[in-house]
Symmetry: C2
Subunit: 524 residues, 2 copies
Amino acid sequence: MSDDRRAEPLEPLETAGSLGALDAEQRGGTGDMSPARFREAGHATVDAMADYLARVRDFPVMPPVEPGSLRALFAPAPPEDPEPIAAMLDDVARLVEPNTTHWQHPGFMAYFATTASGPGVLAEMLVAALGANAMLWRTSPVATELEEVVVDWLRVALGLPEAFGGLLTDTASTSSLIALGAAREAAGTRAAAKGIAGRADVPRLRVYASAEAHSSIEKACMTLGLGRESLVRIATDDVLAMDPDALSEAISIDRVAGLRPIAVVATLGTTSSTAIDPVGAAADIAAREGLWLHVDAAYGGAAAVVPERRGPFTGWERADSIVVNPHKWLFTPLDASLLLSRRMHVLRDAFSLVPEYLRTLDRATPVLDYNEYTPVLGRRFRALKLWFVVRYFGLAGIRRRIDAHCAWAAELASWVEADPDFELLAPVPFSTVCLRARPCALAGREDAPEVRADLDDLNERLIEAVNATGEVFLSHTRLRDRFTIRVAIGSLHTTRDDVVRAWEILRTEAARLAADGTQGPAGT
Amino acid sequence: MSDDRRAEPLEPLETAGSLGALDAEQRGGTGDMSPARFREAGHATVDAMADYLARVRDFPVMPPVEPGSLRALFAPAPPEDPEPIAAMLDDVARLVEPNTTHWQHPGFMAYFATTASGPGVLAEMLVAALGANAMLWRTSPVATELEEVVVDWLRVALGLPEAFGGLLTDTASTSSLIALGAAREAAGTRAAAKGIAGRADVPRLRVYASAEAHSSIEKACMTLGLGRESLVRIATDDVLAMDPDALSEAISIDRVAGLRPIAVVATLGTTSSTAIDPVGAAADIAAREGLWLHVDAAYGGAAAVVPERRGPFTGWERADSIVVNPHKWLFTPLDASLLLSRRMHVLRDAFSLVPEYLRTLDRATPVLDYNEYTPVLGRRFRALKLWFVVRYFGLAGIRRRIDAHCAWAAELASWVEADPDFELLAPVPFSTVCLRARPCALAGREDAPEVRADLDDLNERLIEAVNATGEVFLSHTRLRDRFTIRVAIGSLHTTRDDVVRAWEILRTEAARLAADGTQGPAGT
């Protein structure tokens, strides 16, 4: 960082054996590890990290362990006396690495990937050492102002208008909770001040989202006191996108019943199948009905970095709020969620609370204190990660990677379609493929009840067999009540070869299950 | 980590100049930084971190910058092309370090300190590289089970009974929100399912906390739909502790008025003055009234690690939930908040939501999925930090450090008391001293309106002058409507000498202001 970077001579790593002994502060001090000692231990830790990344492919993606089997590996009581750092680093290799699910494994194609990219991890290291709490401008001016900068970078990268401000939160759960909290306020409830219980002027509130919307929307309704019942699940069409006519109708019915609609949530890239709600139509309805429009693009939004892929996003610029998670498909380590809004003042109305001990008295200009926009006070300096990630890859590099993932997914989808023993269960607008094994002998009879059950059972056994190889890790969902295997491509560690291999494993294991099936009773 | 740690030869740092050039992946690849490149960049980053820690004392604790002045330092638009890592590291030294508030500076005595301790930072590095999301057991079995282990270690360390389970969250804001969400559910509202608006069977709900309780309690009431008005602020006694008789009375009045009390919050170590509510009396009242008792010991709870300091905590073992923040006085980098509860199933009732795509199908034994206890789904692997911090210092070492901070605070308090031109404004049960300058000429006339205003003004100018030295950074509050300067000792970087120096600066600056005051109109 500084010109005197070499001020302290770097100890050769051969002496790292000294990490096996306690340091002076541990033995009787009241301070922290010294900077010199930290330097030594930090170098050993970086080697451990690089070693892990170099051989992450050698681990089974998900460890073959049973729930509850790991607790006994660890000391049941906290140690009274200090232990040397070398013991902890050894234990990470011995106890932690073999027993974690390897999100950085090239075969991790479950859920949505989170790439802890090199530049993102370097930034996390610096953030940890700086140790600043970005709750107020004054508790780290640069954390606040760099957050303003990178939020705007991301807005520009996504092709959204200047009217959008925003902030970084931990996860999409929080971003969507903030958005719906703002919607609750925007509906004139004065909920932040007065609450929503026991008020004659506040009836039951309603939020509308597709049947395929993520659980975080429903969770936000629970937390905000709206309740799970407040979330009206709108039917989807044949590509699993929200039906705008059904949305209009549901709102009308609720209004007649005396309930108060407050928000519409459109999802651009659902979790189950990456379906895309018609956001333009949703924006029309929200505008007509005076409702807050929140767009959940936690995963799919990243694709808007590629101008040629912005088609399905047309209309999202009319949203009141949008969430896109850099820790999903923008290669940023967990946690980093981007919440954009063109009505930041409403977010502030919903969440601002400034006690005396958080007031800034010694500055003439108004300060931006991001905690006023969130349910939490303490905030990590997440902006540094985005600053590193965007600069390291460049927008061109990010586009190239997103394009590659989409291309590989399209290829996989074409292989699935061409295989008589498999079928695609949803379109592939981004980089996630929903499929199942469907032996060709059963083609045309998929919806017969006994075949339906057999196919569910077959695919449940298939995903278990595939994951048991340790080479690839997939997750499942249900689409139109069919057990569905998801292949979610999105890690920077995944190559086209890994996708080819995943498909090979799926076919091999399906064939093996089919062969087993002919030798015994069906379904066993 | 592994035996082949030296498998790749460490490049001498003199070649780190290669970080000034783009690497192959940046130029045209679709992958991440290679492990070899990460190793090189990681070593350079560790040096930057150690250099920063070695000279953090040379920075003014809070940078002398004005709001809005930093944005222009950064590129207004995101870069199209990739940049070399060396550029980013240089920019951290050039743009970030001089413009952050230095939470790791020995003179940081504002708010409550967060020590990003050496072992904690090393663990953050490993957590970032592992890049696992601890949302489900299956998404990182060891993250879940190690969390069970360290949560229990902390329970034992705090002297709490086995009936308490718990989890790690980001901050006390979230921990208290979860606790009050559970209280809302425990009151029979079925809020998670049905919401609390527009229901004839759910009147306005009430939460009771001292007038000195932290804003996070009020924020949780806002978020949960109870509203700021639901929080009843109970009067405090002459040591700023909640008055139990006033609590009983407030509950009775609300019951008569048809409101529904749901929770009592007792604070053990308030943010303003570290006052200690009578938790035993609060537990009696909560038990009698059938209310959830939540204990906010976010800062003070750490002192319970020292058995001799557990006196004020007597009765907290009867709480339904307790929050203690390891990222405050347990030397763990932000973020890490410990939420303990003896009614974990109620937390789960309030926050559990399991969609199909998060279900675990391939394990016979039930799994513990921590996301079911929180408003957020994604979770960082925070347990590793606690595992490192507790092992590195040992419980004995943690106790020694907490004892030292308390002893230094007691010394400072004695110096304040002995100085005719200063006064203590609150007792000092932990490591935070509340004081103000009160020129001896004004003794006995403190409560005359014009003196009151003058003293507020004097102390506002005093803290500004003290902070302007850059050697120490203090924050303020108001106690009994008096402008109060807080000296919060709690960083592992702070030594007794730093406390001595802080006191010297306070006295010097107060004397200087007094001298200035004799040369011009009062209050200018």
